[in-house]
Symmetry: none
DNA sequence: AATGAATGAGCCTTCATTCAT
DNA sequence: TATGAATGAAGGCTCATTCAT
């Protein structure tokens, strides 16, 4: 699915940041993240990206259809990894609340660790409705789906209120995390973004929790 | 603060959409919203905006410093109105929860009513860190301040948990509402955006509410 | 019909070379003829054409759609004049043979007088089947039509053989003249091109003449 | 003269279209004719030509100096064959008129049989003065020389008028045939090109014939 | 205040050609 | 011989902005 021009798709072993494709392709994506973050997508020059990757300008077009495709592919490479990480939680963390907390930590941790990537995701990727529609239609939907399913699981288990659409709740959580990331970038990144995860999820869990009264406590005790 | 070149600032009576300044200036801003929404900020041509306002290209520069200023001024005109509306709530709605609910309704209602404006706010305004830094530094900070103060009031009154930073809680609510707006745009606006307000605020209020004591539990029990 | 972008079509008074349109448009076409002839269409740079016309590069695009349109418009401007000249002959020269002779003189005279134009017409205009199809479909067909009609007139008057299609004969004459022009260019223009006109038409007339025997001579005598 | 890089010139046995050189070289020329005709010389990609010949892009440069050389070599290969065919007529057809007729048939027959070749010769080869000068200086001069000599022979034998330069007459005939070929291409090749040969030569012979004496008149009368 | 013709900086992309294998 | 990944030069075109009227 990751858009790739002319180069045969390599067998993908793990979804770590720079190990997902041919080395030159990955080097170009890394360089693109840097330059997009520093100059902005429009001001970024393809030739500059190539130079930072140690390649000639024309080489970019052996791996990517055009400049847009560079941004799109950066999104895809990152989302592939994020979704893979998210899927891992499905099996490794059974409790819905704990899973959401971990999900949020991974989300903000990923962005907080790579400031270039964070800028690209929080700013540059929102260039146009065209881009956004493309993004949200595929990978982002899948990513949100992981949150939604966890919420639905919490509802099924009786942990979460059932008078809420899991889709709406998922968007709500995502939107809150997204805002934390954007604010962090605009604050010049003077604090640890990942720490926001716990705070946000805490409010969210409270908000979606089933009657946290004594009565509800009893109910939960009956269901480990 | 609204950036205006050469034109004297009119005494602002009401903050309705097109009645805030000289008629040609407002016509240009209205046209800009349309064209930015339809084509995107970069693809939008200044000459096209002028044409839709029934003016010549050069005339734009009698009212605005440059193309950026057009977007910036559109933001400011809208935020002036939004902040004024928000301030009204400070006196008209005393209960923090009710005020937040009303705030959210106004927020999503405003965007849901004007799709061009919604696209400009949810997409075009996020083009660059430059824009975003400029926005969040002024009007947006003020706007978030209204939410933050209401939350702080709720904490002071004992309605809301005090183990949360009001600033963080305000961003969380704003982020959640923002995501609703963005999703609505990408969904091609097939449903009423404003209806999301109640749902989001409901979760939020639950989330920030003071530890459900027995009393509150009782109250809630009486209200299924 | 002459393709013109954005600029209102001026009332056309005469069809002389550089007086057919707005002065800047004509200056650009004159400059284009020079540069196309000197460098060839592909190697010619739009900026160089603009510079020679004393204008900025962008100005070209106020008068022409693109680089192709520059070549196309040069063709059209010249053909407009050539066709107008040809039409004048319809009334000013009654005798078919004499008219063909005059037509050929005008044709080669026009090219022989303007070497840049000659190169553009004999070489640059033959760039591609796309161009050629476009040319021959419109103005060139009209131009050939003038020759064809004169030949048909000669046939009707009994001067020319009637066992020949006037269309084929017209193409034959045009092809012969065309070859003279091309050869002249490749010879570095060391002789007077116009002088070839009489020689070519002489052979052509002999070739299409009705029985040039005594008998046919009698016939012609009966028709002044 | 055929420009060949690194490949030893093979002893040329016959001049048929694809049997003149090393098989891969010929395959590349055949592919070049196709691609040049379909896309035009400039739009044609060397890699596409190689692909159609079943070879890699780099291999083209083992057989040809550059892209120009591909076009030039195509011209030379074809002209070698055409000149060889023309030379055969010198011995096989003694009568100048008959020889010219046969020459024209071969000329148009060759183009009429291979539409790709026709487009290359009538359109792509006329791209630039550089190409044209190169062509007309060598093979084309030789080809025209065959016509010119035949006309001179006719003059010497008393068949043709002697008040005409054989060179001019040769160009005239060539130009007329050339125009037939070009028209045929632009007409989308809906009729048999070769049939034009007889018609054109008929007019030409009439045109260059010695003053129709009584005798020739008689001869003609006997041959309607 | 308004016009709109003119300006000119700026860059993505193509593709012929090379060369290490 | 043959390959094909890599190179890198080169320019058409757009459009925000200016300014003479």
């Amino acid at each position: 699915m990751t858009n790739r021009a002319r180069t045969p798709r390599p067998r993908r072993s793990s979804q770590t940041r720079a190990g997902a494709g041919p080395p030159k392709r990955d080097a170009l994506l890394d360089a693109a993240a840097q330059v997009f973050a520093e100059r902005g997508f429009f001001a970024a020059q393809v030739a500059e990206i190539a130079r930072r990757a140690g390649l000639a300008a024309g080489t970019v077009y052996l791996y990517f259809k055009n400049k847009d495709d560079l941004l799109l592919s950066l999104f895809n490479r990152t989302m592939d990894a994020a979704i893979a990480d998210g899927r891992d939680l499905l099996t490794s963390v059974a409790d819905p609340s704990a899973r959401l907390r971990r999900f949020a930590e991974l989300h903000l941790g990923r962005l907080g660790r790579d400031q270039h990537l964070a800028i690209v995701f929080q700013v540059e990727l929102r260039q146009s409705t065209k881009f956004m529609a493309e993004f949200s239609a595929t990978r982002l939907r899948e990513y949100l789906g992981l949150i939604r399913d966890t919420i639905a699981l919490g509802q099924a288990r009786g942990d979460f209120r059932t008078d809420l659409s899991p889709t709406l709740a998922a968007k709500l959580l995502f939107g809150a995390l997204d805002e934390m990331a954007t604010n962090w970038i605009l604050s010049k990144r003077t604090y640890a973004l990942e720490a926001d995860a716990a705070r946000v999820v805490d409010v969210f869990i409270h908000g979606v929790q089933r009657q946290p009264s004594a009565a509800s406590g009893v109910i939960r005790l009956t269901r480990p």
